[in-house]
Symmetry: D2
């Protein structure tokens, strides 16, 4: 569940020590086609924390004149756009967009993105930028439509915040050291059998990404003796903003216990649908269940 390869990372100490050119070479592609950001940040060395390094990079962007900021935004590729289809994006963008399959969308989605990209650029004068690794495909389209209604100033701020999110993930993927920004979230579940007063062991369940473009099954698991899974359902990576569904096979569980309910059982598969809104959030979605009633909530 992790895509952070710690072994090949460069340390903050190394970055603080190397010549500026080497620093820029190492971090030049954190911001899309804009090595000047790393170059500017190199002059603020040394950094005590990785977070401070990231802040310095963002400050470098904020300090250039508006036309250059606009050019900076325009250096970003469109989502699911021509550059993606023709393989002209940076390696980072390519990896990010393909994590959602944006380079090979079904025809209707390609058309949706084309329409939205055009409308967005016409309205704001720069491409739509969003932290792809923070969203499901459905959530991206939902946000795209919402953001098209923004005023220019609000939208500029939103685009800038998304760039901060993108670059934070890229930086943490490359650099290690003290004060790493938090980038991971947590999703877990827990099933308690309130008819027997103990964790529900051996319950099969699935986690799905929901929504019309949902990628479907994320994982299938069975609860352990504590009614949980050995590790969280998602951890050590950002959570994607979007809709999810947990499907708990409760009918099978009570049948195996020999609990006599009706035929067919009142509950077979209990479905809990919820949305994640914070990529670094802690989401615990428990189920308290008896053969004829259940409770779920956002836990902690």
């Amino acid at each position: 569940m992790t895509d952070n390869k710690t072994m090949s990372k460069i340390t903050l100490d190394q970055l603080n020590a190397v010549p500026a050119a080497e620093f820029t070479a190492a971090l030049g592609d954190i911001f899309e086609h804009s090595p000047w950001v790393a170059e500017a940040a190199s002059r603020a060395r040394p950094f005590a924390t990785v977070a401070a390094l990231h802040e310095a990079m963002l400050a470098a962007i904020a300090s250039v004149p508006e036309p250059q900021q606009l050019a900076f935004l325009c250096a970003h590729p469109e989502l699911a756009g021509l550059q993606a289809r023709e393989g002209q994006m940076t390696a980072a963008s390519t990896a990010e967009q393909s994590s959602l399959g944006l380079q090979a969308l079904p025809r209707t989605d390609t058309e949706t993105f084309a329409r939205l990209n055009a409308a967005y650029r016409a309205r704001f004068g720069f491409p739509f930028i969003i932290c792809v690794r923070h969203h499901t495909r459905d959530a991206i389209i939902a946000r795209f439509e919402q953001r098209l209604l923004n005023e220019s100033a609000a939208e500029l701020a939103t685009a800038t915040a998304e760039i901060a999110a993108i670059s934070r993930l890229r930086l943490v993927g490359k650099v290690t050291g003290p004060g790493l920004p938090k980038i991971s979230g947590h999703l877990s579940t827990h099933i308690l059998d309130t008819a027997h007063g103990r964790p529900a062991r051996g319950v099969r369940f699935e986690l799905h990404q929901a929504g019309p473009r949902g990628d479907g099954l994320i994982l299938s698991a069975v609860t352990n003796h504590d009614g949980r899974t050995e590790s969280p359902l998602i951890f050590d990576q950002p959570l994607r903003i979007g809709a999810y569904t947990l499907r708990f096979h409760i009918g099978d569980y009570f049948r195996q216990l020999g609990v006599a309910t009706a035929d067919p059982a009142f509950y077979d598969i209990i479905t809990v649908s919820f949305s994640i809104a914070e990529p670094t959030g802690h989401y615990h979605v428990p189920l308290l269940v008896s053969p004829w009633g259940y409770t779920t909530y956002r836990g902690s």
Copy 2:
């Protein structure tokens, strides 16, 4: 559970038809020592509804000059005061105050009331007036202490609202006809067994008035085949603002069903404590219960 004796009531039609003196004689004691209120209202006849008659009486009070309003307030007896102890109150006030045992309080409560009455009169210049039939003894003392902190204008409005409540109850006790003001509330419960998916039948429970001066047990009952009682716990009368406790004998219930829990059982008596704030409110306090978990809420 009802104290409205319909048989001996006078009808609105009769009140609309009789000479003014007879009208005043009939309703003269609705407002404490103030037959002039009825007399003034008699001139606004005929009334289409009992509620309209009540409104006319309140309007008569509102229309007199302030000194007369103050005199009107001062015509009310103190709570648990000298008049009560010496039997000098009107019949209505005597009945109301004795419904809470205010004429025969324990010594410490008598002292509390004496202290509060004195402080109140010193601050506002008129006696503390509250609709006794709308409160438990503890709730009266709590309100007394709260209201001592009010500004004069707010307190005058509060006292007037309490007089409206007192006189509404007295009027509905005397007069019958169309458009009777609502004076009754509703308190009920319901027990569902979520381990078995059916109403919990045969559960003994008690309703108590809670709080340091609580009168204790209001009723004890056993749920029927539908997990309810044949009639609500309180109905056809105003609910007293105050604290209540329901005690459900759930341990006995599951033991009788042969449901094996622990020894001693995890739940023996489940206690649900709640407060009533609206004398004419609809309060439904259900319990969803399994041997190892329960849920309660304000239902409808």
Copy 3:
């Protein structure tokens, strides 16, 4: 929601009074191609209740020798079989089977039924009989597969019980009078907002038939001021055994109240999936909901 046309029904009094031939003519088609059942029952007149009349008809069947009972069973049409497709069933069977669209199934289902019908007749020597109006299409197939595993004696008893159910519905559709057998069930819902302590008003929700062959949407409604619907979701008719889903638009509800939750909201549509097992059962499926947690159960 009712398909019982009371106006044109014959009364039990009339049936008790008419000549035997007329009695037999009136009730001859209650049992498939077997007017002899009505004829036998006519000799047990008069009946005090419609239920007693039905019992007498079932007793007539039970009293004939086994070969005649087998012939009686064989007089029933196959489900979605040749007779259905060629329009050779009785009017009652035609109406019942077409209520589930069994006369015009998709090809894969036709093949499924053909395979099951053949296997069943080979195993038991008579056609598969089930009270169609008591099941969804998916439930029929599930039962069909279960019942194929029965021993002959158990299956004979099951088929007889299904015939009792079919004929009970037909009889109540034709005859009126005292002691009508209960044939209707009840499905209702109720939404309580436990963050605000009141019924959730204005919540849109849908009831769906679930399962691979589910007919989809049964109804769409909006809760009233009491968090309920004016009439139950299903009533005055038998409930179909099978799987159902309620979908509550809770995200919209809390958004309209201005309750600040996350963006996207933690809950958008809350789905409650349950099965009905008793056609004449009372099913109440409430939802207690706050912005971050909910409880559902079989109520009463």
Copy 4:
């Protein structure tokens, strides 16, 4: 919350190495007035675990003839009996009994114990033995009354099991080393605010021992940012079988958040009463709460 002083303990290694007399001297008072048990066990050395040492001691008792076993039982003091009042018990028994205040009971309890002790000895011929540190005072009396109804064989087994429990606690109090028997339980709570989707921080609550002889308040605490306490409510010691009450000050909590409910609030103090049945059990008693509803259950 711990009464195990590790510093002064003897190690299992030491016990395995010392001369038999020293071993017996060290462990002679694990069993009441019966150093022969330790002596017998010394011959089974070395022990790999403390649990094995304990098993060997219990086996030594089981292997002596019945008259000697009876004498062994009779060497135990009565509960709250003459020996207790006159200071003639062993140090261990004195400490155990005084942990429940059994040496200085109110008169009515002294009489109760005297009556029960007499009835018990008359029926079984040996004193009532119970692991005092595993029970509240009320639970001891409840068990006493239950056990008086036992058959002799069952009661002998029960007394033996209680002696095993007593000696296990004494042994763990004296000896350290690998394979220590588990003697501690766990009681914790957790409050989640389902109206806001987060832990309820800053909720004051109390844990009480309940029952007519309850010692009252065990602890008072305030929930932290995670809706929990820094350490469990009880841990690192055996839980006492008996009745407990948690009282959560929920009214104050929602008032501080400015959540408008009624006046008085529907919930002021939410009381959850439960019993502990296993001294080494894991008891988690959470509260999911919104202003108008709550859920509690045995968690994990």
